[in-house]
Symmetry: C2
Subunit: 243 residues, 2 copies
DNA sequence: CGTACAGAGTACGCAATCGTACCGGGGGGG
DNA sequence: CCCCCCCGGTACGATTGCGTACTCTGTACG
């Protein structure tokens, strides 16, 4: 696995990992380890964001929620990034929700500490801004994708994105949960996932999805997957993981 | 019209307008006036962005394009913002296209000059980052909206967003053009626009759309319009325009 | 060992939108 | 002045996905 490449040991947050020693030292008093448990809601819409999260493993979904109870994922954060950039951009709240999708762990920093360090203008600023740009591309592509691409391709793309941010090929996911993320019916996911399984690309059973044929999935996925992946690699360094 | 409010004279870019005099003075040698003509493409996907655009009037659409020729708008920039933030975030290219939707004018700065001034960490940095956050919210909400909201509501929302950034109520827009922005069929826009017209909310004729009943449009629009608008007002100041 | 329940399979009619195509009118250019 | 073409109205079947609802089956728990 390329996950052992120098740039990105597995289970280490890649932004923190790329900080020069002295910057990391400055920040470390304000960093505390945390665990991310499945389904944890880090923030509800309009909640003040008191801490910024740097996952080491697991994934966090950024989700837009609607008055009628509907919801759609707009972005995913794994160990390649950070949740809470809004605080360095100038706002302690966002209208979106952040919830843990795949469990894992990570570090978090208080918003004030991070903002203070950001203002220093060092490497951290640079990394956070580059990540912001990559994240914007991810959201933008999702916006377009949600409109024009049919479910099968979007499901394949979503599984790949999650898989890129997960330690193995086996993902603990239910159709129900995937449906919430993709903004469709649970039954719709069952149908689409069934088709992917028939083609031998994935296998699933009661709350588990296993990726069997990564290349096949990429072929089924809509073109949005490579677009975003390439941008992440270009902006945050390519090492085959979480890109 | 509230467009005469102190913070935001009509036809002045609100980011440049909020700069302290000395910062504006530092930048002014690198600013040049430009006109934005309908249909101009400021940048094609993957083109290096040599200049950052600050519209005074008119609107610029950020559009995602697909291999099959399809396209969807992911965001709009008017005099409340800037096109090209990606260069200060760390990348001279984006995978998206920027095209002029409503003609107007504005200023542009060379990417290097802007990046240099941004690094100074003054008010410009603050303004650009806050705008970035607002823009992220706009894109995110669009991502979700594109998936779950029917065309009528999305069309109403889109017209309101454009109207907020236009000097008057009369917009030079064809159904064809709107269809490209919303990522639907031209015929679909004709049908939806017909319904809005039947309800007396808008009137249109050969390339012109006039907003007759703003409040009615807001009532028909999906909930995404107020969500984004409030964020823009909160982050960039409220003056009733371009928010 | 039994039961309760979450997760998944499936089916039905329906609504929205698609892709396409053809038509008519208005207005600008030759 | 006329013609052409851009713009908009409309129609058609096809498709995708929705809402709902009923069923079945692992599996966790008592």
């Amino acid at each position: 696995m390329s996950s052992l490449s120098a740039n990105s040991p597995p289970s280490v947050n890649r932004i923190l990992n790329q900080l020069p020693p002295e910057e990391y030292k400055r920040m470390s008093p304000f960093l505390e380890p945390i665990t991310l448990a499945r389904g944890d809601v880090l923030y509800y819409p309009q909640d003040p964001v008191s801490h910024v999260y740097f996952p080491n493993s697991g994934t966090v979904s950024v989700v837009a929620t609607f008055a009628d109870g509907g919801s759609v994922e707009v972005g995913v954060v794994g160990n390649e990034g950070v949740f809470g950039i809004n605080v360095v951009l100038g706002s302690v709240t966002t209208p979106h929700e952040a919830m843990v999708q795949l469990p894992g762990d990570g570090m978090r920093a208080s918003s004030e500490a991070l903002r203070r360090e950001f203002k220093q203008g060092g490497q951290l600023q640079d990394l956070l801004l580059r990540y912001t740009q990559a994240f914007i591309v991810q959201i933008s592509q999702t916006a377009a994708c949600n409109k024009v691409h049919p479910l099968d391709g979007r499901l394949a793309r979503w599984l790949l994105m999650i898989c890129d941010r997960a330690p193995g090929q086996d993902l603990e996911l239910t159709h129900e949960f995937i449906a919430v993320m993709l903004g469709t019916r649970r039954a719709g996911v069952t149908e689409a996932a069934g088709r992917l399984q028939d083609e031998g690309l994935i296998r699933y059973r009661r709350g588990h999805v296993t990726v069997l044929d990564r290349q096949g999935l990429e072929a089924t996925s809509c073109e949005c997957y490579p677009v975003v992946k390439k941008e992440f690699e270009r902006l945050l360094g390519s090492d085959g993981r979480a890109a």
